[in-house]
Amino acid sequence: MTTAPSAANRAPAQTGRSILVRVLRCDGPGKPSRWEEFKVPVEKSANVISVLQYIAANPVTAQGQPTTPVVWDSGCLEEVCGACTMVINGKVRQSCSCLIDEYAPREGDVMTLEPMSKFPVIRDLWVDRSRMFHNLKRVKAWVPIDGTHNLGAGPREAPGNQEQRYVMSTCMACGCCLEACPQFTLEGDEKKWDEAFLGAHAINQARLFNAHETGKALARERLDQLAGPGGVNDCGNAQNCVKVCPKKIPLTESIAAMGRAVTVHGIKRFFGL
């Protein structure tokens, strides 16, 4: 597991301490990267976001060099929007739910912040994850409703099925599963996205919509996509994805289920069914 020690058995952290934060910075696409260090006083219930907020307001390095504020992406600050994902102490996770007391409980403790490596860097810790949304189009991750007119309720659903769909549907497109996956590699060229590996995130979404009564209408098209280049067969079954998913989505189950469905779909196709 890549998570920090669980909050419940957290060692008491020193109060009034400062920590050293090392940030891998980059001014923009194609620009070289560099490390900068910041000494940051830690307030009560500090997280990586409050640390970055401090740096934004006081952009001076630990060595006393004036610099520019660090740029990063965030939104909800409660681990539900997926925006703030970065690599912290070598492991990918959300920065908003990363509490300093767990990671750097003592005076002078060091934390490192790096942008995800599987997506092009926009600036500093902010990366461009548009490929993830593009992949949602590839697997047609939607229910093809007839329109917004008043046509009555949707299909009734057994609670068990709802529970299964709900968990899959909590995916916040954070990208952790892709950062951890050896098969998913950085691809800056948009034109190559349609052939490149979809990754656990999109495969799981294909399963989610194939599990809905009306969503099923597009099941064949989704399976065609998953059977093609960059589809489910590119998965090397390393299982890294499931270990880092903050929403505990059973990704390997989803991949296995889609793998089977693709096989069956292939056989049916072969026999023209």
Partner: protein, 656 residues
Amino acid sequence: MGSEHRVIVVGGGLAGLAASVRVAEAGLAVDLFSMVPVRRSHSVCAQGGINACNEVARQQGYSEYEHFDETIYGGDFLADQHPVLEMANWAPRIIDLLDRMGVPFNRTSEGYRDLRLFGGSLFKRTHFAGATTGQQLLYALDEQTRRYESEGKVTKYEFWEFLWPIVEGGRCVGIVAQDLRTMQIRAFRADAVVMATGGCGLVFGKSTNSVICTGAAAARCYQAGAWYGNPEMIQVHPTAIPGADKTRLMSESARGEGGRVWVPRKAGDKRRPKDIPESERFYFLEEKYPAYGNIVPRDIATREIFDICVNQGMGVWGENQVFLDLSHLPASTHHKLEGILEIYKKFAGEDPQHEPMRIFPSVHYSMGGMWTTFVKGSYNPAQARAKHKSGTAAPIGAEPGQGMLAGDPRNMVTNIPGLYAFGEVNFAYHGANRLGANALLSCLFDGLFCGLSVVNWVRNEAPSKAPAAKMAQGVFDAAVAREQAKAKRILDTVTGPGAVEAAVNPYAIGKELGDEMTAACTVVRSEARLKQCQSKLASLRERYAKLRLADSAGWTNQSFTYTRAVGDMLILAEAIALGALERRESRGAHYRTDFPERNDEKFMKSSVTKFDPASRTTRLEWQEIDASLILPTARTYGKKDVSAAGKPAAMAGAGV
């Protein structure tokens, strides 16, 4: 390009996405702008659920009309009534639509949609998907939008910031926006612009809102001449976890599912909650409000908690906090609340299944917002207005289509024709206090119902004769030049990288703004404190004029973006403070220590603020509201007087 008509939607939360889907479905091209990828919009945070009359509640005597009635009563009679009636009437259809889109609503054993109890109602009428309902709703709309995007009917501009509406010939004909990566500023033409930019929690520094909820977009429209209604109506949610970067919400569903709020009866009791016997616990909401108990509306719960902590010094362990206790609930209930319990576990480090949570009120929602208008439907009961009695059948003729006139181009349009405001950013529906689980509904209702109004404006009114696409270039170029000049003025303050002294540091100014607004303009307000707040705002404005920026980058310059927003937040703060000062009564979320009573004669009116660009000052006017359906009554939720000592004292305002 396809059609020569284009519609711009600014904001990709629930309101913006619903509008995009509705307008695209009707065949107009949509350009959708958002500061963040729309799937990450603030709506994703909503936890508890969405209200609508349903079959089970109906068979117990509930109705759309009662949903309407609760919303008006909950909002302390400040909302215009006809639009609320229409919203309540449409609610069941909206749930059905979401259901068809595949939202994984919780199910009963028979496979029907499950329901939970929420504040301000005695009926179960809240539909939910775990404790992350907003996320699930937003995703469903995001998916439908993506479908239209892949068909070329919606064009997304994500990581683009709206800067200004372009108004020409008395109507809105486009916007100026900036790419937050390249920093390019450019104009976009449109025959209608829908603002769906959400709330303004960041004006108060820490709130339950996302980091993008600055209110800057609304403040810019306001400075461009759009009016802003009931700015003083800011909801402070009773139950949030304080944090270093924000406050995190503990949804009302925690109480709806049986969570109990309490403090030790003895002030300063240092024992662990588990060691305090039942008889030594003060369940103050349950004792004071026997009918509603822990699910009284938010403004009431907030003031009671505030009173217990701040006035009576009875906060848990001597701090400003009370217990929100779920530890007595069964595992199946904990399971339904998993999403929020996880949040508490993660951020507070304790497990609410075993330990009561410690919470305190926090700024949460803005009932006020951009002023909008509407056209009444045909429902106008001949009988005199009356207080609707719980559980009786809806008056005849109150069905959909009767509250607001469907498709009329004037529904939810601002005072600038062609400029619409949908969702949290407008001031309609929630009056002086919003009921839990009514916000998501109003966002979707605006997008789906008033989306048609936008379409009809474009097809049948001024734009049909003079489309924005055919207008002379000059006005668009001039608007871009003005925004470039504003940007240059801020960027020119950069003297070099590094720390900036606090007096002129935009982050320090932003923080002081938040601290001041929280202290003066939230739970309790008074003439003296508000005047002090106004002078503080004036001094912050002066400091802002001399600000210094630390980053001159022409690429992805976040400090610049934030700094520009602080200027707009200062303007919005002024409107909020002015409204709070001028409303010399107490109503809903607005509580004045010097005027503790509601005063219908003088103030059952909307406060409408208008900005004067020449003097850069805010003016306030009072405007009559449509209260033609329900007669205002005292809003007490059956309160009783009790003290921590135990026995209920005399009944106050019983029976109303």
